[in-house]
Symmetry: C2
Subunit: 359 residues, 2 copies
DNA sequence: CTGTTAGCGCCTTCAC
DNA sequence: GTGAAGGCGCTAACAG
């Protein structure tokens, strides 16, 4: 009798085993007096099982505390019910709120979330890519602006993966995968127009890291805004940055030391704006009386800056949920839009005002 | 011939399949002209394989881009090489920096990290607990202050899990699992003593959420500090809070409306301290001239508050790494210490000073 | 409606 | 040093 397993043979009835192994489908089947197939069906497609059998199976499952082994299930079904999220920096609160949205949506769908945090070590990526190749995940959400095996600026042969990929927050140029983001360019343009509308004529811009797609979009929006108001673009007003607090501090120091200062500074994210405000204040400049500062993202601490920061709100949680929804649709085999854009909102607080008279 | 699989029969040689299925160990074996056992050994224990076979296997693996299927591996080995991290709030930057440390260490060890974000829905926990029961993870790191199936205040029968558990950052009273944290009580005591040493005699304390173990420890430290300096504990100086920015804002509003104010306020975390400083400043009080404010945690934005916040630094990343190390040791079957305490540091910035003369 | 059976892909005795 | 073969736990045919 081939299907007789050793485990059944050496079972010692009426005696608590030393290590109570988790119940298997066999155990449930035996207790419910049905075959394993019926147990399996009772779980996956209850309609196909008679009421009596169903009841006995439920009872047995409850008694044994049975939970199907996930490795066996994955092996058999070739699905892991797990999604990988690749991101550049887990500790960045911007990303972690997006993660919340992702986790939330995946949870609803019964999926789990594995985190791949690049954390400045591009070589970690290979292992994360392997998750997709070994079948540990059914799909991946890319928040890092490039495909597996590709560098940020698009060099290198992108690795073909067998699972669906979705780009979230940062479009991946040239990649033929769904993209979900806000319209960074339009938002940056709106902010620039708002500052110009306040009367500013020297509006500086603090960049994100070079080569970053977000950065390119936001900078272009800034430029378009300037051009739309006849102010014109002046390369000297573009200050280097990298999205860190420290970059904001450095820009602040530079500005404090300058003879001629812009009357408004648009930072391409809130961290830099907060670092900048802080440094300007410490150096004796009053924001917004002497100089206006604006950010981008509306992180939680933006409202806590002194003065509270004018910025662009991104629907972070919604972005995360949307990203998860798209990949779930893809996993269901449904078609999805190539590109989804969520709305941003210009949040005016107290860090921006009309320029000083002599400015 | 029983081992002849259908796949081998319908293979169409010299023709690219429509869907290039991932290579299996069989494919490698065939190409390298060895058995699957040899391939497996070449990967897991190369010493047992002859040089020639090893070379052919490597070559075949490279040619086929073979990566072992993880579900099959998990099923066979009963290990998932995956750790679950349960935490109350993913978007809290305090946790996300700990996560970074965890991920980092797990990565080094070849493990992956699954996130279970409770996010205010305690019922999510059951599914996360199931990850441990279905074999999807080999262990779990608990940052949420209680065991599976238990409420925060220790009610309810804690669920027995078959995998190792480790409590990180917040001890779980009564649980017989390793605990890793800082000495919250000693740190709170030190901060209280520091404020008293500055000359403050009315030192208020803003609580965390009731029932929270961290909170209990920090509050006790505050109390001990007061008693050690003969100031004595005054329940009226304990203000309710819940670790959110909003709580800090509420406390600020209360204080602004009060007749008699404390000269120093020790907040049990930085978020609240930042909300408080902001509200006080908006209400016309100058920190620290009129009132000193201190926090706990030293989150990134603590240094960006206006004025920069005096606080307690926790080695967050190190806490994460340590937690991961402990669970990895447990998975290796090694013994681990029951309790690990990491050092904190009192970081004096500009939000604290001697009390005003008339205070 | 239900049971039997054959693997999913891998690792690991066991035999040579 | 190497190969043959069984089975980890489950589900999806295929019969009945």
């Amino acid at each position: 009798m081939k299907s007789q397993t050793p485990r059944e043979l050496d079972a010692t009835p009426d005696e608590e085993p030393i290590t109570p192994r988790a119940a298997r489908i066999q155990d449930v089947a035996r207790l419910a007096q049905v075959s394993t197939a019926t147990v399996s069906r009772a779980l996956s497609d209850p309609a196909r099982v008679s009421a009596g059998a169903k009841a006995r199976v439920s009872e047995a499952i409850a008694r044994l505390g049975y939970l199907p082994n996930s490795a066996a299930r994955s092996l058999r079904s070739q699905k892991a019910r797990m999604v990988l999220v690749v991101l550049p920096d887990l500790s960045n609160s911007f990303f972690s709120e997006i993660l919340q949205g992702i986790e939330d949506r995946l949870y609803e769908a019964g999926y789990g979330m594995i985190i791949g945090n690049l954390d400045g070590s591009p070589q970690k990526e290979a292992r994360f890519a392997a998750f997709t190749a070994t079948g540990q995940v059914d799909g991946a959400l890319l928040l890092n602006g490039h495909l597996f095996g590709q560098t940020r600026d698009g060099h290198g042969e992108p690795m073909k993966t067998s699972v669906p990929l979705v780009a979230l927050c940062e479009a991946i140029p040239g990649a033929d995968i769904p993209q979900i983001e806000v319209d960074n360019r339009a938002a940056a343009r709106a902010m620039t127009l708002y500052l110009a509308g306040l009367g500013h004529r020297r509006i500086a811009y603090v960049c994100g890291p070079a080569g970053n797609v977000l950065e390119v979009e936001r900078c272009r929006g800034y430029r378009e805004g300037l051009e739309a108001t006849q102010l014109g673009f002046d390369a000297d007003l573009v200050l280097p940055g990298d999205y860190t607090l420290e970059a904001g501090i450095r820009v602040g120091q530079t500005l404090l030391a300058s003879e001629v200062r812009p009357t408004a500074v648009f930072c391409s994210n809130d961290e830099m704006a907060i670092g900048l405000i802080r440094t300007l204040a410490a150096g004796g400049l009053r924001v917004p009386r002497d100089i206006s500062v604006a950010g981008f993202d509306d992180i939680v601490f933006a409202a806590m800056a002194d003065p509270p920061l004018t910025t662009i709100r991104q629907p972070r949680r919604e972005l995360g949920r949307k990203g998860a929804s798209v990949i779930l649709d893809l996993l269901k085999g449904q078609g999805v839009p190539k590109r989804i854009r969520l709305e941003t909102e210009l949040v005016v607080r107290e860090s921006t005002a009309a320029p000083p008279p002599q400015g």
